[in-house]
């Protein structure tokens, strides 16, 4: 318990620091002084508007997406008993991408809500197909079916997406590319609110069952002998984690590596106990993606990079390091 509190405090401090940097980055020194001045000049109002209307929702969305992806990563790794699993393994990313591309091609890139809803629908379609195939299986067969079906469904959805792009001759390639690499530039409070409510509700539901997730890691029979209804618990975890991931994908595109690397790093730091791992990943994921977004905004200034480029550039070497170290 004391460890949990210490961990949480440390990560909260990190998250706050990253958020402040994210809010201020891109401002000049004199602009930051104006923020403190609090006078009513038009220049001060302009600086505050940039901060509150653009940078704050964007920072919040980055933190939210990071928290959601990392937490669902913990759940998928636990339920599938595979530390290499990630939230996109079961076709969510490809399904979401297909939905988003169809919407962008048909409705245009301006239709942001359409893109989100289509992406969400696409994610859930992919997940439903994978779960449908695996639901009746037991033990290792379940896990193998989920992983294989996820790969196949993902590949199929990817092919459909590329087909859609090719035949449409869409001139919105830039938009599509951004979406596929993760895009936080269209953040607004509406997105933060709706996605936040969904993701946090899901997270609380998962956290209230953290002990059960610990048991699922020990194997189907062991978990059952230790008092949980494996099929029910597993379905709950997978469904909620898929909803969280689908929600995040619908508002931020498919940001890679957060759901894979953050749970891993947190497990190395704090051990495998999900009662600690879940809050640690929530905070660590939020800080990681918010920091990555800062980098995406400034490294090639004035050009903005898709945030997924940064998470992959930072995440892949780290992951390789973990593999080698083991």
């Amino acid at each position: 318990m004391r460890k949990t509190i210490l961990v949480s405090l440390g990560l909260i401090t990190l998250l706050v620091a990253v958020s402040i940097i994210s809010l201020l980055i891109g401002s000049t020194g004199s602009e930051i002084q104006r923020l403190w001045a609090m006078d009513n000049s038009s220049e001060t109002r302009r600086v505050w508007t940039i901060l509150l209307s653009y940078r704050l929702p964007r920072t919040l969305l980055a933190a939210l997406a990071g928290a959601g992806l990392a937490s669902s990563g913990v759940v998928f790794q636990g339920v599938l008993r595979n530390p290499l699993a990630d939230p996109y393994l079961i076709g969510i990313a490809s399904g979401g991408a297909l939905g988003a591309v169809i919407s962008i091609v048909l409705l245009g890139e301006g239709h942001v809500i359409g893109t989100s809803l289509a992406a969400f629908a696409g994610s859930l379609t992919a997940v439903a197909m994978v779960y449908g195939l695996a639901a009746a299986k037991r033990g290792a067969a379940y896990i193998n079916t989920v992983i294989l079906a996820g790969v196949i469904v993902g590949a199929f959805m990817n092919a459909l997406m590329l087909l859609t792009i090719s035949v449409s001759g869409s001139d919105e390639m830039q938009r599509i590319l951004f979406w596929l690499m993760g895009d936080l530039s269209l953040a607004d409070y509406g997105k933060v609110k709706s996605a936040g409510v969904m993701a946090l509700t899901g997270w609380v539901l998962i956290y209230l069952n953290a002990n059960r997730l610990n048991l699922l890691i020990a194997g189907d029979d062991t978990a059952s002998n230790l008092g949980i209804d494996v099929r029910k618990a597993r379905s709950m975890f997978m469904a909620v984690a898929a909803l969280i991931t689908g929600t995040i994908v619908s508002v931020s595109g498919t940001v890679g590596f957060v759901g894979l690397v953050v749970p891993h790093a947190m497990r190395l730091l704090f051990g495998p106990d999900n009662r600690i791992l879940l809050p640690a990943s929530l905070l660590g994921g939020a800080a990681f993606l918010a920091a990555s977004d800062c980098a995406a905004r400034v490294v090639a200034y004035p050009v903005e990079l898709p945030v997924g480029v940064i998470t992959a550039l930072a995440g892949a070497p780290f992951f390789l390091y973990l593999l080698v170290r083991k």
């Binding site: 002990n211 610990n214 020990a218 002998n225 008092g227 497990r267 051990g271 106990d273």
Partner: protein, 273 residues
Amino acid sequence: MTLPCDGCAGTSLLKCTGIRFGYDKRPVLDGIDLTVEEGDFVGVIGPNGSGKSTLVKLMSGLLTPLGGDVAFKGRDMAELSRREVAKELAVVAQEETVDFGFNVAEEVMLGRSPHHGGLHFESNSDRDLVEDAMRKTGVQHLADRKTEALSGGERQRVRIARALAQQPRVLLLDEPTNHLDLYSQLSLTELMHSINQDGLAIVLVSHDINFVSRSCRRIEILHEGRLRFGGPPHEVITEANLRSCFHIEAVVDANPITGGPRMTPIGRVNGGL
């Protein structure tokens, strides 16, 4: 089959009545009757593939019999929640190893789960029980070690500690001597005797005839889907029974120290050497 009252005198802890089970139409168990009372110490022996592990899974409710029924304290196993069962029945089985790196103390603490909800941080009494279980099984000194770094025998003792932390009234063990050297087997026997003395009923299944005849007070032989010859070791472990059920020629004499039956295998029936 459901008896009217739960926990009243005369209700068996665990009662299998005519259970049948098979995989893909291949029958494995064909009418198993087995009753386990408070404080019993039963061993089920049988050759490989005779359905011993299946029997354990049926008795613990992991599998549902195709016919007959399993009653736990007078109530149908299938109607009980897994949590209700886990509060009073613990299983030590061979299981897959896990990559996630729980340490021994955390692994044993999982045994407390049935007594708590989905989000619970351990209390002092949980910690005491875990401590106690680790001391009884001799894994205290391993508390901080990762389970995947342990030897097979150590891992087995950790699983037993986890089962004891459940505070069960019945303990089922599936092939508990796998991976155990003779020293560990003897300490396992001692451990089982001492927890059995505390009132815990034990059922173990094994192909290790000498281990079971040394350890258990009652032995059943699983043969062709049924339990046969149930009784105390000296009545069950006989040359005739070993010949008919295990297809081995063996000499059975009395252990000079304990007086219990001692089996020395000679060769296969009809097979020569």
